[in-house]
């Protein structure tokens, strides 16, 4: 019965993915992709990976969807949203099928390796947090996570480089507006406090249960986006120092904590067990702020004038 559930879920996921790739119409593909992210999040719950499910729900089903919808809207206003016919069908299909077949074959021949299980069990008491996923992310493989937070920043600077010269001094994204007292504005007023609570709670709970800086930061970014799109808060301009500091504070605290570890405990990114928990929480809070700001700005896009002349 439980297998039937997995089979049905995977059939839906595959069907939705097929509709995304094969269906005509750009908008349809985007809506299917949003649905796809949602179903995959359920799939992660089935696989017992709650932390991944949280990330997928927030990012895959949430932010990526808005990003694509907004891009579709922009392309439509530029008159370039018309779907283009696919080219080189057969070759591409063969390549895709070969890749899928190769991976499927690999699944059946994969040996069950010895995993870092014993090392993990021995290290967990010194990790400072109870949630093993958070321990891996912020302690055992902290260098990955640090670089990843920098990847986000690099993407944002890259996105800003796409600004037209004359828009450079403008506010990020399009100038948002809404009807005062309308549904959108009231929605933008009600949702943020709730979202704020959930986001902060996800960061807090990430240490010992499920969640973490990335999931929490994404939720906070979503809250900011709703407030911005409802016209309640105005996005900043590029060059607003406080916001630039917010963008880099997480990685900066992370690097400096790592250097402190190198000086105090011998190796870069070392968190001495007695202070590991407060250190991780400090890094997580700073990271959350940076992630939330960076993600929100990534979705808002580079500064743009409202109506193209």
């Amino acid at each position: 019965m439980s297998l039937a559930l997995d089979l049905a879920l995977c059939a839906l996921i595959l069907g939705v993915a097929l509709a995304t790739v094969a269906g005509s119409g750009l908008f349809r593909a985007i809506v299917f992709f949003i649905v796809y992210g949602l179903l995959v999040a359920v799939g992660w719950v089935r696989l017992g990976a709650i932390d991944v499910a949280l990330a997928e729900a927030a990012i895959g089903a949430g932010l990526t969807g808005v990003l694509l919808l907004a891009a579709h809207g922009r392309l439509r206003r530029l008159g370039t949203a018309r779907d283009a016919s696919h080219g080189a069908h057969l070759l591409s299909a063969l390549a895709g099928a070969a890749l899928a077949a190769a991976l499927a074959w690999a699944w059946f021949v994969l040996p069950l390796p010895e995993r870092p299980g014993p090392e993990l069990a021995a290290a967990m008491p010194r990790a400072g947090v109870e949630n093993p996923v958070t321990a891996v992310l912020l302690n055992f493989r902290a260098w990955d996570t640090l670089l990843e937070s920098i990847v986000l920043l690099a993407a944002l600077i890259g996105l800003w480089m796409l600004t037209r010269e004359r828009d450079w001094s403008g506010r990020l994204g399009l100038p948002q507006h809404s009807r005062a007292g309308g549904v959108l504005a009231s929605f933008g007023r009600v949702l943020p406090p709730v979202g704020l609570l959930i986001g902060v709670w996800l960061v807090w709970a990430g240490a010992d249960r499920h969640g973490g800086a990335f999931q929490g930061g994404t939720v906070l970014a979503a809250v900011g986006l709703v407030a911005a799109m409802a016209g309640l808060v105005r996005p900043p301009r590029i060059g607003a120092r406080l916001w630039h500091v917010a963008l880099m504070i997480g990685p900066a605290v992370f690097v400096l904590a790592g250097l402190a570890g190198a000086i105090l405990a011998g190796e870069f990114l070392t968190l001495p067990p007695p202070i590991a928990k407060p250190a991780i929480l400090t890094i997580e809070i700073a990271l959350t702020a940076s992630i939330a700001a960076t993600l929100a700005f990534l979705v808002l896009g580079p500064p743009e004038e409202g109506r193209a002349p």
Partner: protein, 110 residues
Amino acid sequence: MTGLTVFALTGAALVGLGFYGLLAARHLLRRVVAFNLIGSGLFLFFGAAGARGVGPDPVPQALIITGIVVALSATALAVGLVVVHARAAGHAVLPEEPEEPEEPKDEGAT
């Protein structure tokens, strides 16, 4: 057939489907979507592989979360590029052959 196999094979199929989309699709936004399909298919495969054996292995989960965030960063930059490219070129497909960049007139003008 176990649940894990179902998810692993789904992941493999998604990678193939996404790869087809990345190669065959011409509208650039579709290519970005296809890129995301490949990524998440790969992660599903990885997640299933990590859930084998006794107790789930947290390392793949952490790597997948990192991968999801990296994919989002790349998607955001790619989507931005699609839009500005469409604004400059008037279409959202790439020509089959890369054209030569136009002469950067007066790049060094003061």
